[in-house]
Symmetry: none
Subunit: 233 residues, 2 copies
DNA sequence: CAATTGGGTAACAATTCGGTAACATCAGTT
DNA sequence: AACTGATGTTACCGAATTGTTACCCAATTG
């Protein structure tokens, strides 16, 4: 899994679907779509999206049932319901079934994006197309890293490693976890390769690699990526 | 810690305030109120509410600034904004400042309650990641220990030992049990190694290691970990 | 009250772990 | 084929952690 957030959109109306897809793509999200309930439920389980945007009026299985099924499967990602049904009873029903937000059509795309970001911020999956840390900017969609506007060239592995770190800011990560995520679980390499890559990445982003600010070593555990300055919401 | 949730309502209009207070009380929430920004901010810091309902139009300090200040103070509770300003730009501003939800007046009280519940449900679920004892916070995912916001550095063994103690709070634990759980049953070390590790851990978390509050010795048996005072929310 | 036992801990020793230099490999390019 | 740059592996070193031992004190027991 690379760093950008993956949104699953379950919506049957083609025009709406395209609009959502474009809007999410423009903000650097990866979108996967399902035009029908069964497929959506299946994707929710198999594709591990970071958030689900769910229309309620769907052919066959309706949105409420999908919501209930997702929660019953113990999946924890935020669910944003999207619908023309604006009756209070519907809203309360949706939220009580495990949805996190309920937006009534017609809605404003900017508001939807802001709400999606707010939920992702809590989940910590990542929020925007540009990820800020210290005085760096990591651009997901263009795959570039900048410092004070100047690009810092990273190799493919270094970039994927940094992406992964960024997507899991603050977490203690074992070498094996990192290997699975960045190298892929099919490739077999020594856990020490992680150290090697961390060294080169540190050389590029840490002002003093001996006293790293961003990529911290946790002896006996692995590494932890941290944002330089103040608190992380 | 698992009692009723405490809601801080920051709202200057008396009628609205009473309505909210009654509605929350009817659902079994504990409500604390502030009719003015400064007070509200102060209560947010000192009273540790589980959620904040925040009006934007307030005399003196407005809701946006309170929201920003709360997040700047690194307080993590959900914030639900409540306001007559329904312009998309206002909503996006609020959400980007760290609010979790934005409801426009006039609103339906049932919807507000459902949304508040949805946010609390999520917070409770993720609070799983933090273990509180005395005035310490043990963060599982980041492998860190804090006291009053200051990090206390632990070695890997110390951390694992503390984790184990925390997971079996209140139980009498023999040295062999501890060895199996923390060292792993394949490794062979003297049971005295446990004592050694307990000593260093005490040195870091007990204010007086001679009179330990958290890690107590049970002569002839082993140790027992206890939470200091009451659970501090 | 003396003897015994168990735990605290200082001091030392052994071990483990991570950083990194040096080398190897591999793919793409000239 | 030689070159280049990226990436993986190995080996070595220094530092931090961890285990052992020994000694002492406190509690328990006879």
């Amino acid at each position: 899994m690379n760093g950008r957030s993956r949104i699953l959109v379950i919506e049957d109306e083609p025009a709406m679907l395209r609009g959502l897809k474009d809007a999410f793509a423009a903000k650097g999200f990866e979108t996967i779509v399902a035009a029908e309930g069964e497929t959506g439920l299946h994707l929710a389980c198999s594709a591990h999206p970071d958030l689900i945007v769910l229309d309620i009026m769907l052919p066959n299985v309706n949105g409420y049932e999908i919501c209930r099924a997702v929660r019953a499967a113990n999946l924890q990602m935020p669910i944003v319901m999207l619908t023309a049904k604006g009756q209070e009873a519907d809203i309360i029903l949706g939220l009580n079934l495990g949805a996190d937000d309920y937006i009534t059509k017609p809605f404003r795309i900017g508001e939807l994006l802001a709400r999606v970001n707010a939920h992702l911020r809590r989940t910590k999956a990542s929020a925007h197309d540009i990820f800020h840390f210290g005085d760096y900017e990591l651009h997901w969609s263009s795959h570039k890293l900048f410092r004070h506007g100047a690009e810092i060239e990273l190799t493919a592995k270094e970039f994927r490693l940094l992406e992964y770190f960024a997507s899991r800011t603050g977490c203690a990560l074992s070498r094996n976890e990192i290997l699975d995520a960045v190298w892929g679980n099919s490739i077999i390499v020594t856990p020490r390769s992680v150290d090697r890559c961390v060294t080169t990445l540190r050389a590029k982003i840490e002002s003093d690699p001996r006293l790293p600010i961003y990529i911290q070593t946790i002896r006996d555990i692995g590494y932890r990526f941290e944002i330089g300055q103040d608190g992380v919401p």
